[in-house]
């Protein structure tokens, strides 16, 4: 039997962001009429791969073919024209327009710019093909997320998409809604469509996929029929065996157990549910969980960025109610956010101004005049300490590499030894050298007595740096564990088990 032409074919595909390689020589065929799962640890490159197929990222190396033809140039529009659509984690629908209007947005029937108003009629064949029951004149705002995803699927079909890439589509769905999405995928397959299913929910992948591709650290481990895989085989492949180990700095010894931060059954408007944990002085404590598991939200609730609805926070044994970011900073509790561009740095300011922004009062007279010389020398010290390159206090932050921006971000919050630090993904998108320096700085900080709460999607990092760790899922804090001697596999399996115990993932 002759093999059919793959819908999407990748050969030797690599991708790097600002010199950091996130995908390397990936060979992959996505066959027509299959549901193809992409799995891997956080940061393994599965979302990146999905976005490459959908035209959102250009490839750095290798070749990409769609339906047997070279895909070059390859923008989202090119992809869509050729029949490949991508469904983002955050849906891109216009909330105030109706279902029919959204489905045909941009491809409306019109005469001389006047709408013909045929959207509802045009919707009928799509509804029949998919079997989705939705009111074509309902507004998007009034629909559930699962229904909105259906609209997104119909929108892709209205553009004759034959391949739909779904990037973590179930992360905000209840178990029931997930089931319905799976039905949708099967219907698509029955009508000859292809689905690329990116997810970290292994059960879901095993349930509907025909084939699965496993990625690890930007490398493709294998593509195999789903029937021959099970959860264990997937997890072991995701982790791999002989990964080159990063050397982590020695963990400082804790002399006395002096409580720095204690959180008692804290709940919040952002989905934190009765979280309890504590951090001692000089201790690095990791929060381990999957992306979307509510780790960042817990940090935000504690520091006062989001409103709490219950529970209490004790700092050095004293209750700290009425929390706000300004008050937390004043008390020496700081948070280094995960997204340096959107939450951490002001991209229009120079390096020095960024670093000193939250501490300006300590570089200024009571009347607010900035003591430029002190500010400069302290910034220079911090830059040297973190080995920021280039070491220019007045450099334009926009022109720095990701790793050096990240060092500036850390330097900003750590230059005045804080009491308690929350680190959210402190080494995301950073090359190995910068990562090493960042790890050392975190260890030094704890060595000087600061309490550190660490969130990282890289298990290796959390396990390598932390004295203790907690498992987090669904906005809740679960079991405490000591990283010493634990393998990533054990921890990952424990996490997937948690996920299974509480299947209603984040359906608040």
């Amino acid at each position: 039997m002759e093999n059919p032409t793959p819908s999407v074919r990748l050969r030797g595909v690599g991708k790097s962001f600002g010199g950091v390689s996130v995908l390397r020589s990936v060979d992959l065929d996505i066959m027509p009429g299959e549901i193809h799962g992409l799995v891997g640890e956080n940061g393994a490159g599965k979302s990146t791969l999905g976005k490459i197929i959908g035209g959102y990222y250009s490839i750095s190396d290798g070749t990409l073919e769609a339906f047997g033809r070279p895909a070059d140039p390859w923008t989202p529009k090119d992809a869509l024209d050729k029949g490949i659509a991508i469904m983002h984690q955050e849906l891109q629908l216009v909330p105030e327009l109706t279902v029919a209007e959204n489905v045909f947005l941009g491809i409306e029937d019109q005469k001389l710019g006047v709408l013909s108003g045929t959207e509802k009629d045009r919707l009928t064949p799509i509804v029949e093909a998919t079997g989705f029951e939705v009111d074509p004149s309902a507004k998007i705002v009034d629909l559930s997320i699962a229904d909105r995803q259906k609209i997104e699927v119909m929108r892709a079909l209205a553009r004759n998409a034959r391949v739909i890439v779904m990037d973590e589509p179930t992360s905000s769905l209840s178990a029931d809604e997930t089931q319905r999405l799976h039905e949708t995928m099967k219907k698509l397959r029955a009508s000859g469509g292809t689905v690329v299913y990116v997810s970290h929910f292994l059960d879901n992948i095993l349930e509907v996929c025909d084939a699965v591709t496993i990625l690890r650290d930007g490398d493709l481990v294998r593509t195999a029929p789903c029937a021959g895989e099970n959860k264990d085989s997937l997890v072991s492949a995701m982790l791999g065996g002989g990964r080159s180990k990063i050397a982590f700095p020695d963990k400082s010894r804790l002399k006395e157990r002096q409580s720095a931060l204690e959180v008692r059954s804290l709940s919040s408007t952002n989905g934190t549910r009765e979280a309890s944990f504590h951090v001692n002085r000089g201790e690095i404590v990791g929060l381990i969980g999957l992306v979307g598991g509510g780790r960042t939200e817990i940090l935000r609730a504690v520091i006062g960025a989001d409103k709490s609805t219950g529970g209490e926070v004790l700092v050095q044994g004293k209750p700290y109610g009425d929390r706000s970011i300004a008050e937390s900073n004043r008390r020496g509790i700081v948070m280094v956010p995960e997204d340096r561009r959107k939450q951490g740095l002001i991209m229009t300011l120079a390096v020095r101004s960024n670093m000193t922004l939250p501490h300006l009062s300590s570089f200024a007279t009571p009347f607010g005049r900035i003591l430029a010389a002190t500010e400069k020398s302290r910034s220079r010290e911090a830059i040297e300490h973190f080995q920021v390159k280039p070491p220019d206090v007045d450099g334009d932050i926009l022109n720095y590499s990701g790793g050096n921006q990240q060092k500036v971000l850390l330097a900003k919050w750590l230059m005045r030894d804080p009491e308690i630090v929350f680190l959210d993904e402190p080494s995301r998108g950073v090359d190995v050298g910068a990562r090493q320096r960042i790890h050392e700085a975190i260890a030094e900080l704890a060595g000087r007595g600061t309490a550190v709460l660490l969130v990282s999607s890289e298990l290796e990092e959390v396990l390598g740096l932390s004295h203790r760790a907690y498992l987090v899922a669904n906005g809740k804090v679960f079991d405490e564990l000591v990283p010493e001697g634990k393998t990533e596999g054990e921890v990952l399996r424990a996490l997937f088990q948690l996920q299974q115990r509480f299947p209603e993932a984040s359906a608040h």
């Binding site: 229009t348 009062s361 430029a372 926009l398």
Partner: protein, 315 residues
């Protein structure tokens, strides 16, 4: 030396000053009268009011906002002074009260923007109507004569050979420049304009800063009003109608980013000067004032276009 040259080249003032010189040379080549002391003194007097307003407007625009109400607040301040003087209040106290009223109007702008979460464009558009309206209500549409020595001195007096309004401009720009480049408040203005969300996460009191920024813009409008009362020796309630657009144009021509977060205030003075030179120069050359508007419109668009090209290259 090379480093110095790069810094010099990058300094926002360098290019705009060159452009201003080029314009001055062009016009003076066409008319010998343009580059005379007399004409330049005149020019400085003409530019002073827009320049003072542009200083306040610069702070607002760097913070990512806009203040459309400056002309009306100027008028409100002027009639407050005129009305008080008319009713026998001493000119000094009347001036202090007028400045307080102008600052208060700006403060209200700030409250509405920061606490009411109303976009600056809309909030100050409202104040544009309110302040002008109140000015008309107070006076019933009548203009008061203000022929006191204080205002005659401000309008016509000289110090060391320079007209008094120039000193107002110098103090306004020196103070604003110091504030923006050397003070905590100034740093926060840049931070808020660069990224308001991040600024909040840093623990900056964004709302308080915004209130202060708009109050300051009101204060500068009031200071401009004092100069205006001096020059006119009267307080017509329809004074400075539409001047807010000139102040905004001066800031934009100077090169402060309309998106906020970037730029220095001194360029706004040069921007105001360029506009005044075009008007003044074309007057001398006998070009119709209708054409002057066309030219200034082109200059505004060209200034931002050039700026876009420059910043695109930087990335």
């Amino acid at each position: 030396m090379k480093e110095f040259l790069i810094k010099f080249q990058r300094y926002p003032l360098t290019w705009i000053v060159l452009v201003a010189c080029l314009i001055a040379l062009t016009i003076s080549a066409l008319s010998p009268y343009f580059l005379t002391v007399n004409n330049f003194t005149n020019l400085m007097k003409q530019v002073s009011i827009v320049a003072i307003l542009a200083a306040g407007q610069s702070i607002v625009i760097i913070s990512g906002g806009i203040d459309l109400s400056v002309g009306s607040v100027l008028a409100l301040t002027a009639v407050t002074i005129g009305w008080l003087v008319q009713n026998g209040v001493s000119p000094e106290i009347a001036t202090a009260c007028g400045v307080a009223v102008g600052t208060f109007a700006g403060f209200i702008n700030g409250i509405v923007i920061a606490k009411g979460k109303i976009p600056p464009f809309i909030a100050t558009l409202g104040m544009l109507g309110i302040a002008r309206g109140v000015a008309l209500v107070i006076t019933g549409g009548v203009s008061y004569q203000v022929l006191t020595p204080l205002f005659l001195f401000i309008g016509n007096g000289k110090l060391l050979g320079f007209p008094i309004p120039i000193y107002f401009v110098i103090v306004a720009y020196a103070a604003t420049h110091f504030m923006l480049s050397r003070s905590r408040f100034g740093r926060h203005v840049y931070a808020i304009g660069g990224d308001e969300h991040v600024s909040r996460l840093e623990g900056i009191n964004v709302d308080g800063r915004k209130i202060a920024i708009y109050a300051l813009s009101g204060f500068f409008s009031a200071v401009a009003a004092v100069v205006m009362v001096g020059r006119l020796a009267s307080t017509p309630p329809n004074v400075a109608f539409g001047i807010e657009l000139q102040a905004i144009a001066a800031v934009i021509i100077g090169g402060i980013s309309f998106a906020g977060g970037r730029g220095i205030v001194l360029t706004s003075f040069v921007g105001a000067l360029i506009m005044a030179m075009i008007t003044n120069g074309l007057n001398i050359l006998g070009v119709s004032s209708f054409w002057q508007q066309v030219l200034i419109g082109i200059v505004i668009i060209a200034a931002v276009w050039v700026d876009n090209i420059k910043s695109a290259r930087r990335r």
